[in-house]
């Protein structure tokens, strides 16, 4: 049965302080799914996760079960790493998930680690999330005391450890290979891929990196089966979706919703519509790294494939008339990303918003590759002068050219994360930029 707006998996315990204690979590049925999982064969758990159509909630939407099968069969040491670095602007779900339901994350991690035969595992949590570090560490200590973590978990012979590894302020450490570098005690410079972490990751061992929300869904899949989970969703995407709605809406919030919900329903029904009785101008669908939608593109589902391929979403252009090609003739439309939906009303100064977004990427570039290091800096600089009324004729073309020069030419996807929103906003809101330049000194 497909999920409806009342279906609650990972957010079922939001607002219930009982759930974050071990006793409370157990009363709510917690760790029963771990018992069940430990009675299954690891390869059967992987098969269920594959069948579930669970897709990564960290940004790329890659099939979780598929990723897990990339670990070489003969690997001796495997690690599971939970990516809790959440810092994509507009995204605020992982922090809430860890705060309200830390044991669900632990349960999901231990089951996943068992499936992957991973003994030494880590949660890489963003340094600024101090409240959540405290909550998580307490939950982990409790889980050790009760034998849900440690040497011989529930008498199964399986040994599993989770260590909380605190970051210290660097958006780039959310990128999985930068995260691994940081876990190894280095600067967070992303690694060249391949090799992919699943083959050669942490301490050179095969490593699976999964987002908080992704791992929290695993207990439900083990409990009710992959087919059940797949049916909750639509197309090739299983389960529900957490969406963080922020910006100019009446009811911003973190909502668990069916994947079939459209952007229009999300904004006008779930989030109470645009504030101050204004009109909608733009929506960022999945964190600031993703190209925006305009007011005519809201009838698309908030599902991974739909946002990438639905033809009602205009393709992003490199310059007017020339599409940004993702390869194989597929135009870039947008992506579901991290679930951070940012709504902008018709009073929004779009060039100013874009400048703020560019300022972020320029600040967070690790500086390793020239197109990104230089390009994000130039984008910020030109976007700033346009936003503040000092734009020069040709600046829009200049920004598009710089963005085009970054995308596809860098070690990690931070390059695209800066280039795509720039190209997307230029494609859909060109008059807003042009108006600013006309008003400039010239």
């Amino acid at each position: 049965m497909p999920a409806d707006r009342t279906t609650r998996l990972v957010t079922a315990n939001f607002g219930n302080p009982e759930a974050s204690t071990l006793a409370g979590f157990e009363r709510l049925g917690g760790y029963q799914r771990l018992r069940k999982g430990l009675g299954m064969k690891p390869e059967n758990i992987i098969a269920e996760v594959k069948a579930s159509n669970l897709r990564g909630r960290g940004g790329a939407g890659f099939s979780t079960g598929m990723k897990w099968t990339f670990v070489p069969k003969d690997a001796k040491v495997v690690h599971l790493v939970c990516n809790a670095d959440e810092s994509e602007p507009g995204t605020c779900k992982d922090r809430e998930l860890m705060f309200w339901d830390p044991h669900l994350l632990i349960e999901g991690m231990v089951i996943s680690a068992y499936a992957l035969r991973a003994t030494n595992n880590y949660i890489y949590i963003r340094g600024e999330m101090m409240r959540e570090v405290v909550v998580l560490q307490k939950a982990i200590d409790e889980a050790y005391q009760r034998g849900y973590l440690g040497k011989n978990i529930l008498g199964s012979g399986f040994e599993c450890h989770i260590t909380v590894h605190r970051g210290a302020g660097a958006y780039i450490c959310g990128e999985e290979t930068a995260l691994l570098e940081s876990l190894e005690g280095k600067r967070g410079n992303p690694r060249l891929k391949p090799p992919f972490p699943a083959v050669k990751g942490l301490f050179e061992n095969p490593t699976i990196v999964n987002n908080v929300e992704t791992l929290m869904n695993v207990p439900f899949i083990v409990d009710k089966g992959g087919a059940w989970f797949a049916e909750l969703g639509v197309n090739r995407s299983g389960g529900t979706r957490i969406v963080c709605v922020s910006g100019h809406v009446n009811k911003p919030g973190v909502y668990e919703l069916p994947l079939s919900i459209t952007m229009r329903e999300l904004v006008y029904e779930v989030a109470g519509g645009v504030w101050k009785d204004r009109q909608l101008k733009a929506v960022i669908p999945g964190g600031t790294s993703m190209p925006p939608l305009d007011a005519d593109e809201l009838d698309v589902m908030c599902e991974f494939d739909a946002l990438m391929t639905d033809e009602r979403i205009k393709p992003v252009e490199v310059r007017p008339g020339t599409r940004f090609d993702l390869g194989g003739g597929r135009p870039l439309r947008t992506m579901a990303g991290s679930g951070g939906v940012v709504v902008m009303d018709d009073h929004t100064d779009i060039p100013m918003a874009v400048w703020r977004i560019m300022k972020f990427y320029a600040h967070e570039s690790c500086g390793q590759c020239t197109p990104c290091r230089e390009g994000t800096g130039w984008l910020e600089k030109v976007a700033r002068r346009v936003a503040f009324g000092d734009g020069k004729p040709g600046d829009l073309e200049l920004m598009a050219t710089i963005a085009h020069g970054i995308a596809g030419n860098t070690i990690c996807a931070l390059g695209e994360a800066a280039a795509w929103p720039m190209l997307g906003f230029l494609t859909k809101f060109r008059p807003d930029f042009a108006a600013k330049i006309k008003g400039a000194a010239a």
Partner: protein, 165 residues
């Protein structure tokens, strides 16, 4: 001057060393702890971390300068991290930042007594924008006129980041 870790910090570092195949991964935690014990990461504090983990000083310095939470200069007891990223900006974060600067008489990046103001990137509280975090305490849906109250509350009940390490 040669610095030392507190007994508590030493214990934590030793426990963490058990969790990784080498000592190097403990460098972030050790830097957090050195900053807690000594307020900021002076050259001596970096020496201490390098010596404790048996790492080259250059490596420790490289790590310390990559991450924005590590400070080479002292800061106030309360580090106010005021988010001005997109969701917060759309709901008035720059006015909130200005109100803090005005109230404390210091610009972002600066320290006035027990307070340091930092213009922060998204702190994952976007649904309650504008958001400010100070240690373990989040201030949500902040308006400029709440700034006095927030500062007073933190004066009475400081929220040092070092509470957590």
């Amino acid at each position: 001057m040669s610095l030392e870790f507190s007994a508590e910090a030493t214990k934590k570092i030793l426990a963490l060393c058990e969790r990784y195949p080498t000592r190097q991964p403990v460098v972030l935690a050790a830097l957090h702890l050195a900053q807690k014990d000594h307020g900021h990461l002076s050259d001596d504090a970096l020496q201490l971390v390098a010596r404790t983990l048996d790492l080259p000083l250059a490596h420790v310095l490289g790590v310390a300068t990559f991450y924005t939470m590590f400070r080479r200069e002292p800061a106030g007891q309360n580090v106010l991290r005021v988010c001005t990223n997109i969701s917060c900006m759309l709901r008035g974060a720059y006015d909130v930042l200005a109100a803090f600067e005005h109230k404390l008489g210091v610009k972002k990046g600066g320290t006035a007594g027990a307070f340091t103001i930092i213009e922060e990137e998204c702190i994952a509280a976007c649904a309650n924008a504008p958001a400010v975090v100070c240690g373990t305490k989040y201030f949500l849906d902040v308006t400029p006129d709440q700034v006095d109250m927030i500062v007073d509350e933190l004066r009475r009940h400081p929220r040092p980041e070092s509470e957590v390490v």
